[in-house]
């Protein structure tokens, strides 16, 4: 067996929250102002808590040359931290990582791009920043421009480019990097469908040429397609390793078992009623955060410290940040009779189009907002079944799935239609 090209031994990374913000007169004054604003009902960004956060804990794994490894995990699992350490952007707190090849990191597209420089100048700049030698860049220059499809504009300043062109150019440069180890972090989430396919194609090309790739993504389908092995991370530790299908299966199963722990979510230290848990369900056998469009859905919020005039507002955002719906309990004739209760939002039909959504909740007392949970849960909506047939979504982004049926009215006598 050849020597591993990456070895991670007992790698740990701790972040100290809040400690570096020295308490000063300025800070105290600011929190005083914040309290005043609260009373007036303003929404405020979360206040950092102090304490330690272990982003990675005793991580161990090896990667052999030429392998394509996918790294999956939820938010806060430690994926980005791992990539940052392997890219030498930050240092581990303990443990070590050994790299036996040059690393090219794609943690963001267009690092170092300057709007006043031309496409040509930016290609050289970006390539050099990413570690390419000037000779190599010159050699690949034509290929890069062709891949990005920007031949005509190569000598105009990048500030005139459309955002799509910028992304294509940035990815094109990165695609022709020639490191032995390529680390890619979710950058394939940019650009349109056809370009994404091109990028994935290029990545599998690169993989076929024997480069080692570390690929982090939320797109489980892409991981399944590209990777021969996967590592699952949760809360900084590895919970599964092996074939992608197996790791993905474990990951989804774990989602079902977990309830979102709201202590972590509640970054906003306000006053008033608190939400201590959220249960999302579509009947027995729901995989918690994977929902079906068109079926009934319940969102049950457990409250503590509630008062008679308390209310909740559930906001649903799609992954472009568009507010799809805002549902307020204050519009219904609810009577809050005790301080501990479960408020459930009952939908007869979940009318969301397939996709990923973020749920945010505001807690109100007497129409004044007391708390705001910006990201209380994320859900993934899949096409529902209708009459037991699986509905296919044709990929066009839509916001809602309106209840409907198709009818046909024939305008001329029935006849056999040539096929």
């Amino acid at each position: 067996m050849s020597t591993p090209i990456i070895e991670v031994n007992d790698l740990s990374k701790r972040y100290r929250l809040g400690v570096f913000n020295a308490r000063s007169a300025k800070e105290d004054f600011e929190s005083f102002l914040r309290r005043l604003k609260l009373r007036a009902g303003y929404k405020e960004p979360p206040v950092r808590k102090t304490g330690d956060l272990w982003a990675l804990r005793n991580l161990n794994f090896t990667v052999n040359p030429g392998e394509v490894i996918g790294i999956i995990g939820g938010n806060g699992a430690g994926k980005s931290t791992l990539l940052k350490i392997l890219s030498r952007i930050t240092e581990p707190t303990s443990g070590e990582a050994i790299l036996r090849g040059r690393v090219g990191s794609l943690l963001e597209v267009g690092t170092g791009f300057h709007p006043d420089l031309t496409g040509r100048e930016n290609i050289f700049l970006n390539a050099t920043i990413l570690g390419m030698r000037k000779e190599a860049t010159r050699r690949c220059f034509g290929d890069i421009v062709e891949f990005a499809e920007v031949e005509e504009f190569i000598d105009t300043p990048v500030r005139r480019y459309s955002s799509g062109m910028r992304v294509r150019l940035a990815f094109a440069v990165a695609a022709f990097l020639e490191p032995e180890i390529l680390i890619v972090d979710e950058v394939l989430a940019v650009g349109d469908e056809s370009f994404q396919r091109k990028c994935i194609g290029k990545m599998s090309d690169v993989a076929k040429h024997g480069r080692t790739i570390l690929f982090v993504s939320h797109d489980l389908a892409a991981v399944q397609h590209l990777c021969e092995r996967a590592i699952g991370l949760r809360k900084g530790q590895m919970f599964a390793e092996g074939k992608p299908a197996h790791v993905i299966g474990e990951y989804l199963a774990a989602l079902e078992r977990d309830k979102s722990t709201l202590d972590e979510v509640d970054e906003y230290s306000g006053q008033g009623p608190r939400i201590v848990s959220l249960a999302i369900s579509q009947g027995p056998g729901t995989v918690e955060n994977l929902l079906m469009a068109g079926r009934p859905a319940h969102f049950a919020f457990e409250l503590r410290g509630s008062v008679p005039t308390a209310g909740l507002t559930l906001e649903i955002y799609n992954d472009s940040g568009v507010l799809v719906s805002r549902l307020s309990s204050r519009n219904s004739e609810l009577e809050v009779l005790s301080s501990e209760l479960v408020l459930t939002c009952v939908m007869e039909q979940l009318l969301l189009a397939p996709g990923r959504y973020r749920l945010a909740v505001g807690v109100y007392v007497h129409d004044a907002q007391q708390r705001y949970y910006e990201n209380i849960a994320t859900i993934e909506v899949k096409s529902g079944t209708s009459n037991n047939r699986l509905l296919e979504s044709d990929g066009a982004p839509a916001l809602v799935e309106l209840p409907h049926a198709w009818e046909a009215e024939h305008l001329c006598p029935q006849e056999s239609i040539p096929v």
Partner: protein, 286 residues
């Protein structure tokens, strides 16, 4: 085509690496990037401003005019017997280099978050690129100074220029100034990344510092009880020596020069160590 895994190439990533190591090998490996950054800043300067290149010449000249009027004519500060224009221009040329280099590098970590947080390269490359940039500016302004010296000489002014000594020793003086401004800039950048309002404090302090340096007055004007300033302020001997090389008059003692160099060396080591230590984890702070 299989890329060969170079079995000799191995990087161990672990905590507690040495501070003082300036990673020369890394800097050499990334020399292309250094050149590219220097070039980029120049190209941008030309593209983004109308005056751009002319500003290199205008700024010291305008300042000299103002100084001459205010400090020489109105306040009647002497200039060691030298023509005031040359006196001020000389001081400004070297002081500018120190000032601007310090100012620019003191925000390195803060200003380049987007770069440092996304890709690895030896962090020192950016401040080095800034310094190279300022060296080129200095070269341009030095040429202006020389032109003026020649002009004045031709008009018959009396002062001793030491062209050979100037040629040999200016690089040393320049190296010392670069080291000093870089040292202070690197140290400050470690703090400005945490406490952003320090940047304003730095600007303010630099203004005061100019008054403690013999730029608008000659060192010979220091009264006996204030001579110690020339020992404590490493830029003082630098400026005096610079004027001494090009204009023939300086009242700096060898001891003061030696102190200045020693102080520069110590500050440089401190600055380097501090920067190397901070660069490894400052990304966690942003």
């Amino acid at each position: 085509m299989e890329p060969a895994t170079n079995s000799l190439y191995e990087i161990r990533i672990r905590p507690d690496q040495s501070w003082l190591n300036p990673d020369i090998r890394g800097l050499i490996e990334y020399r292309d990037l250094l050149v590219m950054l220097v070039r980029r800043d120049f190209v941008l300067k030309f593209k983004q401003t109308v005056l751009g290149p002319a500003w290199y010449l205008l700024q010291p000249l305008l300042t000299t005019v103002v100084f001459t009027i205010v400090f020489n004519q109105v306040a009647r500060l002497p200039t060691d017997g030298l023509p005031p224009t040359l006196f001020y221009l000389g001081g400004i040329t070297i002081w500018n280099f120190f000032l601007q280099n310090l100012n620019s590098t003191s925000n390195t970590l803060l200003n380049n978050e987007s770069l440092y947080g996304k890709v690895y390269f030896p962090r020192l490359i950016v401040p080095l690129a800034i310094t190279c940039n300022h060296l080129v500016t200095f070269a341009i302004q030095l040429t202006t100074l020389i032109v003026f010296i020649i002009f004045f000489k031709l008009r018959g002014s009396h002062f001793d220029a030491h062209p050979i000594a100037a040629l040999l020793l200016t690089p040393c003086l320049l190296a010392q100034t670069a080291a000093l401004s870089l040292a202070l800039g690197l140290s400050l950048s470690c703090f400005t990344v945490k406490y952003r309002d320090l940047t304003q404090l730095v600007g303010f302090l630099l203004q005061i510092w100019m008054y403690a340096t013999p730029v608008i007055y000659p060192a010979s004007r220091f009264p006996e009880h204030l001579r110690w300033i020339m020992y404590l302020n490493p830029v003082g001997p630098i400026v005096e020596n610079f004027r001494g090389l090009f204009l023939g008059v300086s009242s700096v003692t060898p001891l003061q020069t030696v102190t200045s160099v020693a102080l520069t060396s110590v500050l440089f080591l401190i600055g380097l160590a501090l920067f190397r230590r901070t660069e490894r984890t400052f990304v966690d702070l942003i």
